[in-house]
């Protein structure tokens, strides 16, 4: 693959290394991280932060699963249980999954499009450093009078207005998360549109870049709407407005409409970058180009468009006109079409490919199977008449955990294994990686598959106690959750081992003949990958 590096481009790299000694090199000590403007440093901080949040959110999930191991109240009071479900969701959505994808975007997008860095490096730093502030504020609510928010991450009024001292802290931490996301998304869009090497036309862009471009657009479009919604909650609580008060002419259901106008695109914000990751990995290990690259772009764009007109399928039981229910049902089902295009394209990519099954590929294949299960249960939930039965049951919990854990999280893990040698210059321990994969893949199903049965049998979500006929499946799910949680320490061990350069040296290409500009630079990649726009040779091009 080194042959794809042209002379002009090699020249650029020599300068990048030479620059290491002047102001563009890494600063010493803590200032390197506090004042960081380098996309790789900031990407690393995002990933480490996300990992920390993954374990904090994960321990909350284990409190939930421990309580539900047997019927009756064992470990925590119901109010604490509700705080755990609420905080688990907020931490995982805004603290673990989204920052992990922004971290991957930071690391990979400049490398994949031939840029030296993100377009707005200082704003990039601020996007990151807002997150520790936001989550310090959010997590501090656990220790406040009245406890942490306990009304669910969706913050529905009037329930959320019963939150104690935590309430304004919740609202403002959401504002800060939004601010961080919006700035991060602006940076991604500007980087992709403006910093791309001239030889890479839009349709030649790698799928990870494409899906992130679409994700960033969704972020800028909906995070401000969430900010508006929580601002209305704040003014209803403290300044006497009546947005969600029927007596004043408002409507609590209006909050749900505004929230889910944000919330549904948010679902795609958390999955589209994972689609991009899988679209990078499957071609590499099937040793075939991605099947239908352009149709993948159009499918992702269609999913993004449709995500704006399906929000009320989260609210089929709260009351809305029949025409509304029918519209949102059909629009939701329509999403199965572009999603199906993607699933079939990934499958077709592997058709007659010379496949090998390294850890990133294993995670991608698990993604393909298990995300599709989550997609199908989503279709079941889209049917208004049956959703009235499924709504707020463990079936919903099973559905969205199938798209989020073996979907988004597996996508993130696949990406980390795939690009870690490029980041560190060393291979990770492949055998341990595969052990980690099998433990994760088995335990994730042990955890979430029984929840389908629980939901169909009528067990409601967000309840700390249940009737005894649900015991067996709940115990199985709890055992799976504890197993999944413990398995993730192996992931940390593998990554730390690789970062400490204990594996074999990685070549520039790392894998066998992978496509993309990131594989044309040495491993580890230079501090500023490109100083001048590189040439996109046939070997690195996509379309």
């Amino acid at each position: 693959m080194g042959s794809a590096v042209t002379d002009a481009h090699g020249h650029g790299q020599a300068q990048a290394i030479g620059h290491g000694h002047d102001e563009h090199g890494p600063a010493k000590g803590v200032r390197r991280w506090l004042y960081a403007t380098n996309h790789k440093d900031i990407g690393t901080m995002y990933l480490v932060f996300s990992c920390l949040m993954f374990f904090i959110g994960g321990s909350m999930a284990l409190v939930i699963r421990s309580e539900l191991f047997t019927p009756g109240l064992q470990f925590v009071a119901p109010n604490v249980f509700n705080q755990m479900t609420t905080m688990h969701a907020l931490v995982m959505v805004f603290g673990a999954v989204m920052p992990a994808f922004v971290g991957l975007a930071n690391w990979m997008i400049p490398m994949m499009i031939g840029a030296p860095d993100m377009a707005l490096p200082r704003m990039n730093n601020w996007s990151f450093w807002i997150l520790p502030v936001a989550f310090s504020i959010l997590l501090s609510t656990l220790f406040m009078p009245g406890g942490a928010p306990a009304g669910g991450w969706t913050m529905y009024p009037p329930l959320v207005l019963q939150t104690g001292d935590a309430f304004p802290f919740l609202i403002f931490s959401v504002h800060l998360m939004g601010l961080s996301s919006i700035m991060g998304a602006i940076n991604v869009i500007v980087t992709i549109i403006n910093m791309r090497t001239a030889e890479m036309s839009l349709l030649k862009m790698p799928m990870f870049v494409w899906t992130w471009l679409i994700t960033a657009y969704l972020l800028i479009a909906v995070m401000p709407v969430l900010a508006g919604a929580v601002t209305m909650l704040l003014t209803d609580q403290f300044f006497g407005t009546s947005f969600f008060l029927a007596a004043g002419g408002g409507d609590p259901v209006m909050f749900q409409h505004i929230f889910w106008f944000f919330g549904h695109p948010e679902v795609y914000i958390m999955i589209l970058p994972a689609f991009g990751v899988v679209s990078e990995i499957i071609p590499t290990f099937a040793r075939k180009p991605l099947f239908g690259h352009d149709s993948m772009v159009y499918a992702a764009s269609s999913i993004a468009f449709l995500s704006f007109i399906v929000w009320a399928h989260h609210m089929f039981t709260v009351g809305m006109p029949l025409t509304g229910q029918l519209f949102f049902m059909f629009a939701t089902m329509l999403i199965a079409v572009p999603t199906g295009v993607k699933v079939f394209n990934w499958t077709a990519t592997m058709w007659k490919g010379a496949m090998t099954f390294e850890t990133p590929m294993l995670f991608s294949l698990a993604f393909l199977f298990l995300f599709t299960i989550g997609g199908f249960s989503g279709l079941m939930l889209a049917v208004v008449s049956s959703d009235i039965q499924y709504h707020d049951s463990y079936f919903v919990v099973a559905h969205f955990h199938y798209v989020l854990v073996p979907g988004s999280i597996f996508g993130i893990m696949a990406a980390v294994y795939y690009w870690l040698p490029k980041w560190t210059g060393h291979m990770y321990n492949e055998r341990l990686g595969q052990v980690h994969f099998w433990l994760s893949a088995i335990f994730v199903n042990v955890t979430f598959f029984p929840m389908h049965f629980l939901g169909l049998a009528g067990m409601p979500r967000r309840i700390p106690d249940y009737s005894t006929q649900f015991t067996d499946f709940n115990s199985i799910a709890s055992i799976g959750a504890i197993g999944f949680g413990i398995s993730q320490f192996l992931f940390i061990y593998i990554v730390v081992q690789c970062v400490r350069k204990q594996g074999a040296k990685a070549s520039a290409a790392v894998w066998e003949n992978p496509k993309g500009l990131e594989w044309t630079v040495p491993s580890p990649a230079p501090y500023h990958t490109f100083n001048e726009p590189p040439h996109v040779t046939a070997g690195a091009a996509f379309s």
């Binding site: 004042y35 403007t37 802290f169 940076n187 919604a229 029927a246 004043g248 100083n531």
Partner: protein, 288 residues
């Protein structure tokens, strides 16, 4: 060498983002504790705001001096432009949440409370006698009787003021491009003075509404949407007018060239955005 035409420009480290984060921490913790009834929170909030203002001065100051030193190439200029465009787009979406609330109230929640669609019994049993009208403070008569804000009079004058300010700003922009710096100073000053007059008149309108019309933020859904929409707009006009003032001071210092004045243009885009939001407000909040 680092600034050759096809060479990438990468800015050096900056401590301002972290200062900004500290400012946000103080601001958010301060306002939250204050809202929870702890008075010292107010001072923490104020200090956070102060830190943020310092951060803005310092950060923009850095960028301005780098720009004057000729460090930025066309690609950096384009990054700034796109960044500003998408920032304004995010602002549009923020306002659309509140416009969405207004449209929902007028087309859904208030008619439903009045018994339309399949809500006959809701109206009969819960909100007997409530009729679907606009403006309304809801079936609970929240905040007591009030008088509706009429579109003609002060709001119409404000519309004229804001539209004229957009015209004077465009004249200033053309003058800058053709090198007539005297006109730039004059018309830019006119623009931000018109902006501040708008804010002043808006404040007068609020005082009038509170004291003589009993129209308050607490006047049900009409008061909520009226004051939140016009309030956030007024806040944006204030910010825009401050931005214009700073641009004017920079013109006085001799900044900006006829073919290179991104900060001027970004501020102008922001001002036109604020203008367009006002037109939507005037039509949907005051008039219809």
């Amino acid at each position: 060498m680092a600034h050759a035409a096809n060479h990438y420009y990468v800015p050096h480290h900056s401590h301002w983002p972290v200062v900004g984060s500290v400012g946000l921490l103080l601001l958010m913790v301060g306002v939250s504790t204050w809202l929870n009834g702890a008075d010292p929170g107010f001072w923490v909030m104020l200090s956070g705001f102060g830190v943020l203002v310092c951060m803005l001065f310092g950060w923009f100051g850095n960028v301005i001096s780098e720009s004057i030193d000729g460090k930025f190439n066309q690609q950096v200029d384009m990054s700034f432009r796109m960044g500003m465009f998408w920032f304004i787009f995010s602002e549009v979406m923020f306002f659309s949440a509140f416009f969405g609330a207004l449209f929902y109230a007028r087309n859904m929640s208030v008619p439903w409370l009045g018994g339309s669609s399949n809500n006959f019994f809701t109206n009969l049993l819960l909100w007997t006698g409530f009729e679907n009208t606009w403006p309304t403070n809801g079936p609970g008569d929240v905040g007591g009787d009030f008088i509706k804000m009429e579109p003609f009079g002060l709001p119409l004058i404000n519309t004229a003021i804001l539209l004229s300010s957009s015209v004077t700003l465009t004249i200033a922009h053309h003058a800058l491009q053709t090198g007539h710096r005297g006109f730039v100073k004059l018309f830019l000053a006119t623009t931000f003075i018109l902006g501040f007059i708008f804010v002043f008149l808006q404040a007068q309108e609020y005082v009038h509404a509170y004291h003589e019309m009993n129209l308050k933020l607490t006047s049900g859904i009409y008061g909520s949407t009226f004051f939140m929409l016009t309030g956030f707009h007024g806040m944006h006009v204030t910010i825009g007018a401050i931005m214009l003032t700073i641009i004017w001071l920079r013109v006085m210092k001799g900044h900006f060239a006829p073919n290179s004045h991104f900060a001027f243009e970004a501020t102008a885009w922001y001002w036109h955005f604020v203008d367009v939001v006002w037109l939507a407000l005037y039509v949907f909040v005051y008039w219809m």
